[in-house]
Symmetry: C2
Subunit: 377 residues, 2 copies
Amino acid sequence: MTTMQELGTPTALIDTQRMQHNIERMQERMNALGVRFRPHVKTSKCPSVAWAQIAAGAQGITVSTLKEAEQFFDAGITDILYAVGMVPSKLPPALALRQRGCDLKILADNAAAAREIGSFGKAHGEVFEVWIEIDTDGHRSGIKPEEDVLLEVASVLQDAGMRLGGIMTHAGSSYDYDNPAALLAIAEQERAGAVRAAQRLRDVGLSCPVVSVGSTPTALSAEHFDDVTEVRAGVYVFFDLVMRNVGVCTVDDIALSVLTTVIGHQEEKGWAIVDAGWMAMSRDRGTQKQQHDFGYGQVCSADGKVLEGYILSGANQEHGILSRTGEPDRSIAERFPIGMRLRILPNHACATGAQHPEYQAVMSDGNTETWLRFYGW
Amino acid sequence: MTTMQELGTPTALIDTQRMQHNIERMQERMNALGVRFRPHVKTSKCPSVAWAQIAAGAQGITVSTLKEAEQFFDAGITDILYAVGMVPSKLPPALALRQRGCDLKILADNAAAAREIGSFGKAHGEVFEVWIEIDTDGHRSGIKPEEDVLLEVASVLQDAGMRLGGIMTHAGSSYDYDNPAALLAIAEQERAGAVRAAQRLRDVGLSCPVVSVGSTPTALSAEHFDDVTEVRAGVYVFFDLVMRNVGVCTVDDIALSVLTTVIGHQEEKGWAIVDAGWMAMSRDRGTQKQQHDFGYGQVCSADGKVLEGYILSGANQEHGILSRTGEPDRSIAERFPIGMRLRILPNHACATGAQHPEYQAVMSDGNTETWLRFYGW
């Protein structure tokens, strides 16, 4: 146990009470809507966080790299969806995980990948569980629900003796909206497209036990998940300023921040210089085109109170420029003296977390615990 | 030794021949202009790279965090400038480094920090070598050459028994220019401001042995460094697309790239999906407002040939969207089939490197060596 005052800066802080509140809010919603919940742990890359999600009721996890799969499997979690399209070079590490007992599910959205999975699986005597990725909003990967290739991919996998685990989709474009009606519409589009794709498989006698959908905005906006079996979401565990602008949390829900120290001033410009630059905050400027641009982050007091109007307006590698929006604050040096500590709320929790080897988890008594996280591939 | 074909993706590659060329180009220029050279190692955070710079003639290094100072000192480098303003909470680790034999120089740009350094030094019987940061272009930190506080800071340090090591400045605004005349002008402004600040200290009998200036654009653009004793630069060791747009390198000088694999397509949009998203490239969009916007990076063949007009136009965490600028390429799936490997040149080498736990250094025989890098604070 360390006190906040003993921490070096910059440091990534987790407000564990806020995190727990976010976890419970999501899980209770999923329980009420009658679907399983499989959190995406790419946001935290931290077993302590994932175990808190599982303790609240999550069933399995979603990962974005095989390194995440390996690390979380080593931490004791076995039900893992690797939610990025499989390619031949990643089949050997995926096989190794399954042979160690990991219930790893892999993904395909094209016939070439399906054939590679099938022939590699047959050659190694492994029945891979494969989910088919569906594109319900045009933002990235996947097969559209009505495309012929959906049936082709499923048939290739079945003919090669692989297990058809289900379909999954992710309406990543939900991040582009900021009103409840639009979010409700994209959530329904995501749900309906996934259900339709599953129905097309079942109509020709193919198996599709799982219908998996989700993103933080759609998970928190959908009215119902009829015919969906599970929902996925990642960033809700911490939330961030992008999600505040989307409208699915308030700034007071944001559980991740960067603790920083004031190291200088440019008084005539109304600047304080802090030791959180883009290396600590990330280069993510996700709020730039949203309704409220927070620069590189929202400034808060050391104990987490939002200091309205003060943002990180600029960032170099290890220097952040703190200023007031609108009129420069000529009293900046008195307001934020050298050595003063502040917290900065991030634009994008996944990107900011990724800059840090560890989190300092702030407990209800104000002391902190080190929670390791990992990176790389 | 590993062959390129055996590497997993995404992976950060260093083209060691290009890197060596970049190191020699800079060092030869510094030698010809009669100044010492102190590279900024925040770009690589990798002892193998720093030792190549020192082998070519660099004298000492510049760091942006005390963790870098510790890591490079542990790797055998003793002459280290910590080029971020000192604050009280960082004096104990700075003292520990000096007590272990590290010739660490620290920085101040305000009287409050100077007083803290002085009183902490006196209390611990340590004579810190302190350099004063000068602001020659208004982009960030530092004291303007003509400000009264320059003499105040120097006097506070001298009166407390600290060593006045010199002055340093960094014309970071040089990144905003893209023509030789403007770069020459900002280089001269940087040099003249630093020399003027040093002169003001010497005029009142204060010591100022070092006059340290630099940034990659100004180091490569200055006509002369009269009265300057050393130059600093960082990103030149790898270069990147931002520096290509500034005009101080070509794309064929860029020594850092990310090796990636094609994992899918959206043919009607002319997209290939690759496994290098923003986690591998960073969120840096430094070319966005420059003369040539490269999106999240320039696409090259696996052996490094630029594929003109193909860029990473979008990035999610572990997915990159590869497309042609202008008219969509409807033959994208034949051009870039599933499993094909490509290299992506980064916007900003410092930011892209920071996403990776290690580099794969590609040697002249085509084999690769693992060069570890570190992160965090």
